[in-house]
Subunit: 453 residues, 4 copies
Amino acid sequence: MIIPSIRFQNYKNMNTDFILADFQRVRAQSLDACSGLCLEDYGLQAAVFASPPKWHLAHTSWFFETFILKPFSEGYQEFNPRFEVLFNSYYNGIGQQHPRAERGLLSRPELSEILAYRNHIDACMLSLLDQSAHPDREEIWTRCRLGLQHEQQHQELFYTDIKYSFSRNPLFPALHEPDSSDKSALASSNVGDIATLAYASFEGGLVSIGQDVDKEDAAGSVTGFSFDNERPAHKVYLEPFSFATRLVTNAEYLAFIEDGGYERPELWLADGWNWVQQRDIKAPLYWYERNGEAMEYTLYGLRRRLPALPVCHVSAYEADAYAAWAGARLPTEFEWETVARAVSEASGSSGAITLHPAALQPGQETQQAHGQDIGQLFGHCWQWTGSAYRPYPGYRKAEGAIGEYNGKFMCNQWVLRGSSCVTPVGHARSSYRNFFTPEDRWQFTGIRLARDI
Amino acid sequence: MIIPSIRFQNYKNMNTDFILADFQRVRAQSLDACSGLCLEDYGLQAAVFASPPKWHLAHTSWFFETFILKPFSEGYQEFNPRFEVLFNSYYNGIGQQHPRAERGLLSRPELSEILAYRNHIDACMLSLLDQSAHPDREEIWTRCRLGLQHEQQHQELFYTDIKYSFSRNPLFPALHEPDSSDKSALASSNVGDIATLAYASFEGGLVSIGQDVDKEDAAGSVTGFSFDNERPAHKVYLEPFSFATRLVTNAEYLAFIEDGGYERPELWLADGWNWVQQRDIKAPLYWYERNGEAMEYTLYGLRRRLPALPVCHVSAYEADAYAAWAGARLPTEFEWETVARAVSEASGSSGAITLHPAALQPGQETQQAHGQDIGQLFGHCWQWTGSAYRPYPGYRKAEGAIGEYNGKFMCNQWVLRGSSCVTPVGHARSSYRNFFTPEDRWQFTGIRLARDI
Amino acid sequence: MIIPSIRFQNYKNMNTDFILADFQRVRAQSLDACSGLCLEDYGLQAAVFASPPKWHLAHTSWFFETFILKPFSEGYQEFNPRFEVLFNSYYNGIGQQHPRAERGLLSRPELSEILAYRNHIDACMLSLLDQSAHPDREEIWTRCRLGLQHEQQHQELFYTDIKYSFSRNPLFPALHEPDSSDKSALASSNVGDIATLAYASFEGGLVSIGQDVDKEDAAGSVTGFSFDNERPAHKVYLEPFSFATRLVTNAEYLAFIEDGGYERPELWLADGWNWVQQRDIKAPLYWYERNGEAMEYTLYGLRRRLPALPVCHVSAYEADAYAAWAGARLPTEFEWETVARAVSEASGSSGAITLHPAALQPGQETQQAHGQDIGQLFGHCWQWTGSAYRPYPGYRKAEGAIGEYNGKFMCNQWVLRGSSCVTPVGHARSSYRNFFTPEDRWQFTGIRLARDI
Amino acid sequence: MIIPSIRFQNYKNMNTDFILADFQRVRAQSLDACSGLCLEDYGLQAAVFASPPKWHLAHTSWFFETFILKPFSEGYQEFNPRFEVLFNSYYNGIGQQHPRAERGLLSRPELSEILAYRNHIDACMLSLLDQSAHPDREEIWTRCRLGLQHEQQHQELFYTDIKYSFSRNPLFPALHEPDSSDKSALASSNVGDIATLAYASFEGGLVSIGQDVDKEDAAGSVTGFSFDNERPAHKVYLEPFSFATRLVTNAEYLAFIEDGGYERPELWLADGWNWVQQRDIKAPLYWYERNGEAMEYTLYGLRRRLPALPVCHVSAYEADAYAAWAGARLPTEFEWETVARAVSEASGSSGAITLHPAALQPGQETQQAHGQDIGQLFGHCWQWTGSAYRPYPGYRKAEGAIGEYNGKFMCNQWVLRGSSCVTPVGHARSSYRNFFTPEDRWQFTGIRLARDI
C-alpha cells in the first residue's frame, strides 16, 4: 500500500494507516533536522526568542502529552512530572512555565532523556490513534493533526533559532555543507541572471479571505487543515492594486543602503526610525563585511553575499522603508491572499526544504495569475504585509488552554504570508497567517512590493 | 456682524473676518486652559509623554512659525533662533529636537518669554492672514486651519498631561474646583440612575469610511476639515454587528475586578498579560483607596469614585480584557464610524468642555440610529476600537516635513474614536482617528462594547 | 557687642546671643544663595542626585523640625503634616520618603509656602534656643549645631545641583554674572602664570588622624565641631610620601587627553574603563567645544576654558587615571590630613565663596608645611583621595534616626578632602571627610597628586 | 624520588622534576574537577559571572600560551589563532575579548577540541620547562608558578560557577553524590554539637602585613608564593580587638532572619538596604523551603539545611548587617591576617577539598593563638572583612598585560580572607587577599565576627 505524502488531510473517512504514517513521518523529521548538530549545540539559546534544539524536541512531545494523552488516554503515566512545567511554552491554562529566557540553562535533562521522552510519547500516541473504538476518536484525530502542524512550526523555528544562536559564535558554524542541489540554489550570482521585477495588476473588489472549518465536499472528503486564525472565511473589499512579480534582491536592497536608506528618517515609520537609531542598524541581520568582501551568514556558514538572491532577514520596518524608497508599499495580507488564490495552490512548496532562499531565474517557477507571472510566493522568504495581526470578523478561539494557541498574540504583530525555504513541505497554504513583531528579523523574512493603481 | 462658532469651515469663499476670528479664539483658548496653574506648574513633566504646559504654549506657536511664517511671510524675523530646536516636537525634516524627556528641564526661557513669543506669532499671523493679495493665500489658509486643529489637539494634551503630572504629587492638586455645571455632571452616584446597557443592531454590508479632501457642494461651500489619516473615503465590508448603547461604568468595571479580572490570563492578550504582571496593574490609572474608601483622581482633585460614571483611563489591554470577560468585544473603527454616521454628527460635542466625563442618565443625550438610542459617542471618553492604526487604501502623506504629522505613527498603535470631556468644542467628528499605543492610559479613554450577531 | 564670624564654636560657656546669631546667619545664607534664580528654577531637578532649590530650602527646615522641635519643643505644632514624608531625605527611622527622583515633580507646595515653612521653623527655633532653663538645653544646642552644619552642606549642594540642572538646558543659564572679584579669580589664562607643580616630601610614621568629641581645653572652651565620621582620633602608620604643591590644571589635564588618556585601558581601573566605554566619556563633565573653541560651563555661564584654572568636575576614575599617566598616584586621606595639619588650619577658606575655582599664582596663597609651600588645600576643588570611605576604628554612630547621617553610606564611596569654591565659609577643616561614589562628577572635584618616596 | 605535595615553592635552586610534577598535578586537577559533569554541562553559563566549565579549561591553557609560550618558546605554533580572542578573559593589553556574557554561546569549539588544546599546551610547556639552558629560564619558571596559581583560582571558580548555573535548573542537579568523608562533614545537625562562639582578645599595635617578593633564607630557599596584591610587606597600626573563635552558623543566621533582620533598615548599609529592597532578598543565596522544610542547595544536590553548618553564600551587605545585629562588626583584613599569623600557617587547608563547609565540633580543628582557640580560618568559607580592596603602600603592578591581573580591580570591592571548602589544597595562606563586590554571593562566603575592646 502506498502512503501519500504528508498533506494533513482530514482523516474522517480514511483508515488509520494514513494518520499513523503522517505522525511517524513528521515526528521523524524533527530528528532529521538535527542531524548537523553536535551534542553541545542542543542546549544553545543565544536570545530569548531562540529556543534550544533540545527544548523544541521536548516541547513538541509535551504538546501531544498535554493535549491528547493526558485527557484522552486512560491510565496514561506521565514520563516525568517535572516536564509539565519545564516544557510548557506559554499555556497559562496548563500552569507555570519554566522561564523562556532560561531554556538554555537546562543542561539536564540530558538529550538522551529527551529522546527517551519522545519515544515514550510516540509509542503512547500510536497506540491511542490505533484505538478505532475510542469514544473521542474524532477529537483525538483533530488534535493530532494540530499537534503535527505545531511540530512542523517548531521544525521551522529549529532552523531559524539555531541560525541565530550560531550567528553569535564568531566561528560562524555551518549546520550543513551544501549538497549539489543546494549549490544550484545558491548559484545565481548577479541580478542580470534573474527575472525582471514587474508589477502585475489586480482589479480588487469584494473578495473572499480565509477558510471555514473543514467542509466536506461532494465526495465526502475535506479540503484541508487551517489554524483558527485563518477562520472564518469572510468578505473583504479591495481597491485595484498591482503586485510585484518576485521578491526584492540583495542587489536592489544594497542600492537602497547606498542611497542613504538607513539615514533618511522620512522613509521610516517613527518606531522604525527609533529602532534604527537605538540599535545602530545599518543592514539586514546577517550581513557582514570580511576583508572588504560582502558576506552573508547562512546555515551553510559565512558565504559570499550574492546579488541575485532575495534579501532576507529584514524587519517589517526595513521592508516598509525599502518600499517607501522604491515608490511602492507592502501589500495587505488580503491582497497577498487574493493573488495567491489566483495561482495554483501552495506552489513552490513541493520539493525539499533548503537552507537558504534561491534566486528566481527567468521563466522559472512562476505561476500564472490572470495571465500574469508571479514568482516566489512560497518556499523562499516569508513576506511582510502591511497588515496588523488582528482577528477576522467572527473569529472564535478554542475553549480551554488550547485556545491560547493563536488568539492571544493578536496585538502589535504584523502578518507575514507565504512560506520560506525552511518551511516543512506540505505546511504552506494561501490562507496561512504567520505573524511577528515588526522588529523581528531572525525568521527568513523578505520583501514583496505592491502599489495602488 | 456675528462671528460663528469655531467650525473650521473651509474659508475659500469667505471673507477674512472668519479666519481671523477663529485664529484669535483658538489661540486664546490655550491660555484660558492654563488659568488654574501657578507659575511653578508650567514646567512640570512627570513622564516622557506628559509635556509641560509651557512647552505646549511654545510648540503650538512654533508650528505656525515653522510651517507658515518662515516659508510664506516675506522678511519674517525669528523671535529666537534657539526655539527652532527647543520647541520642535518630532519633525526630523525640520532638524534636531530638544529631547522629549527633557522638556521639563527648560526652566528658561521663562513663561514671560514664551508669552511674548505667542504675542509675536499672533501679530505676524494676523498680519499675514490679512494680506488678501498674497500669492500663496490658499496654502496659508489651509495650513492655518491645520495649525488651529493642531493647537486644539495640544489643548486636550494640556489637560491630560497636567493631570498625569499632578497625579504624581502626593498632594493631588486640583486644576479647578468644580463649578455648578461640573457638579451636576459629577452628580450621578449609582448605576441605578443611569441608562441600561443594551446592544443596538446594525446590518453591516459595504459601507463608506473616511473623508475625501474638501469637496465643494452645490452652494460652493465645503464640508469640513479632516486630517490626512481620515482620507481617502473608501469602501469597507462589514458583517452584521451590535453596538452597546453607552460606555462601561465604574461599577461594571469594578465587577470585573472583583471577579478576578486582573488575575485571569485567559481574558488577556499576551502583551496585555505581560503588562499586567510586570507593572503589577490592578485597576485603572487613577483609582486609589483612601481609608477604605474608593477614590479617583480627577482634575477637580482626589474625589469619591462614583459607580455611575464611565470607567476612564484604561489601556486597550484592559478594554480588551473587560470585553472578553463581558462576552463581547471592542468594535472595529469601521463599525464605530458607521454607527456615528447614522446619528447626528458630532453630537455631544456641543457645550463646553468639562474636566471629567459624566454619567448617561435615562433618556438623556442619546441619538437615534436606525431607531435605536446610542449615547456617549462624543464628549466623555475616547473609545478604544479593536483596529490597529494603519493607513487607508490610497493614503498619501503630505510632501515635506509637514507630512510627518500622522503617517509615520501608523505602527503598533490602536485607533480610538469619539472624543472626550476635554476635547475642544468643534474638534470632534465621526471620521476622526485618534491613536495611542495599547498600554497608554493617561488620555480620557473608556470602553465601548460590541458583538457579532 | 560684636558677634564673631560663624565658627560653630561649642556654646557651652557662652551666652545665647552667639548661637542665635549663628542660626540666623546660616539660615539667611540659604536664601541668599538663591538670589540668582527665577521662580521657575526652584523646582528644577535634572538628575536623581540634583535636588531642586525649593527642596533644599524645605529639607533643611525639616531637619530642625524633625530632630529638635518635635522631640524637644513642648506643644510644637507641625507646619504641615504632609511635609514629614515630602521632605525626608533618607531617614528610614523617621518613616517613608517621597521618592528622591521625583522631588522635581513637587510644583506644589509653592515656593511661597516653603518660605512660610522656613519662617515658622525659624521662629520656633529661636524661641526654643532662648529657653535658658530648658532641661535638654545642651542636647538642643548640640543638635542645632549639627543642623547648621547640615544646612551648610545643603548650601554647597544647592550650587552643585543647580549647576548640573542648568547644564542640561541648551541655553546654559548663568546663576550670576561675575562681579569684579570673581573676574579676578577667573583672570589667569595660561599655565605660565601659575606656580610650578612640585612635590613636597613628608616622612610619614605614626600619625594622629581624626578628632575626638569636643574636649574642653584649659580655658574651658572647646576646639570645634566634627561629624561622627571624623571620630575618634586614632593612630595611622604612614610610609614616607611626597605631595603635590598645587592642584592639576586644565592645561595639564588636556595634555593627558591629547596623549590618548581616554583610550588607553592600562591607565584605568577596570570599573573606570567600563564607565568610560559605556558612557562614551571623553572629557571632564562640563567641557564643551563651540565653534572650535574650548569652553567650560560654569555658574557664570558658558565661558572660554582657561588653561591655568584647576581641572574640575572629574570622577575618581579620571583622577586615578590621570595620576597613573603622570607617574603619580592619589594621596590617601591620611596623607592628605597629615599635610593639612602641618599648615595653618583651614587656610584658604577665609573670604567669600566664588562660583568657580581660581588659579594658584606664584607666591600666592600657599602655606608652609615643614618649610614647603602647599597651595589650594581649601576653597577651590574637593580632592579625590585614594581611600575608600570606611569607618575609623572605634567609630560609633549616634542612636536613633539621626545616626543615619553618615555611617550607612560607608560603602563603595571614596573620600574627598579639602573644600571647594562653593563650600560655605567656616565649614572646612583638616579632618573633614567628604565622600562620593567614584563616578560622581557634579561636585567641584579636582586632582591632587602624591607619590611614594 | 619522592615528589613533594604541591606547595609552589620557589624553584630556583631545585631541579626540574619539581616544577614538572607541580605542573602536571595542577593541570590534572582541572580535569578531575569536571568528573561529575555530562557533556551538555560544559557550556553552561547562567550569569555573566558564572563561566562555563569548558571556558575555564580553555582559558587556563590560554594563560600559559599567551604569557609563556608565545613570548618565550621559539617557533611556537598557535593551536588555533581564533582562541586568542575567544579565551582572553579581560586582558586589554592582549587585545579584544569575546564578550564575557556570551561565553556560554560557544557550543563550538567542542569539548574534544578544548581537550586537544590542553594537551598541546601541556606538551609545549613541559618541553619548555625542561630547557635547562633557556636564557629566560627564571622568568619562565616565575610565570609558570603564576600560571599554576591562576589555574587553581579557576578550579575554585569552576565549583562556584557550576553551582550557580546548576542552581538555576529546577531539577537542582548534584555535581557528585557525597562519599563517606563528605557525609561525615555534613553530619553535624544542631548547634548543640558545635563549639560555643567566643571572642579571643588581641592587643593590636604596630603589626606587619603582607609579603615581600620571595626572599632567600639562610639555606638559600625561599618562603613561598604571593600575588602582587599581597605585596609589599608593610606596617599597620591596630587598636585592640577581639575575634570570634568560629564562623557564624545557619542556626545563628536564622535567628537574625526571624528577628526581622531583612526588614530593619537600621541594621544595613544604605547600598545594602537598596539591594535588599530592589531584589527582594530574604535569605542567603541557596536557601529554599520545600514542603515546609528548610533546604539548602549544595553541590551534593538540594539537601536539608543543617543548623550547625556555617552560614554560606551571603553578601558583604548581609555579613555587615548580621554583625550589626549581633552587636559586633566585621574584622578588618589586617586584624584577620594578624590572627592568622599567630596560628600555624594555612591550617585547615590540609586534606582534600569538600563540596560544602563543615561544622566546627568541640575541640576539633582549632589552633592556638596566644593561648586562644581559633577555628575555621581556612577550608570552609571565605570571610568577608570590613576592608575595601585597595593597594598596599608601595604597591607596584607588573609591566605589560600581565599587570592587569589584580591591580585594576582595586575599586568597589571588599577583601575576603581565608579559603573555602573548594579552594585547592596548598593554595591558601595568611596574606591571601580575595576580593569581590559586596553584593556577590555565589562564592562560598561566610561571616567572621570581631569587636572593639
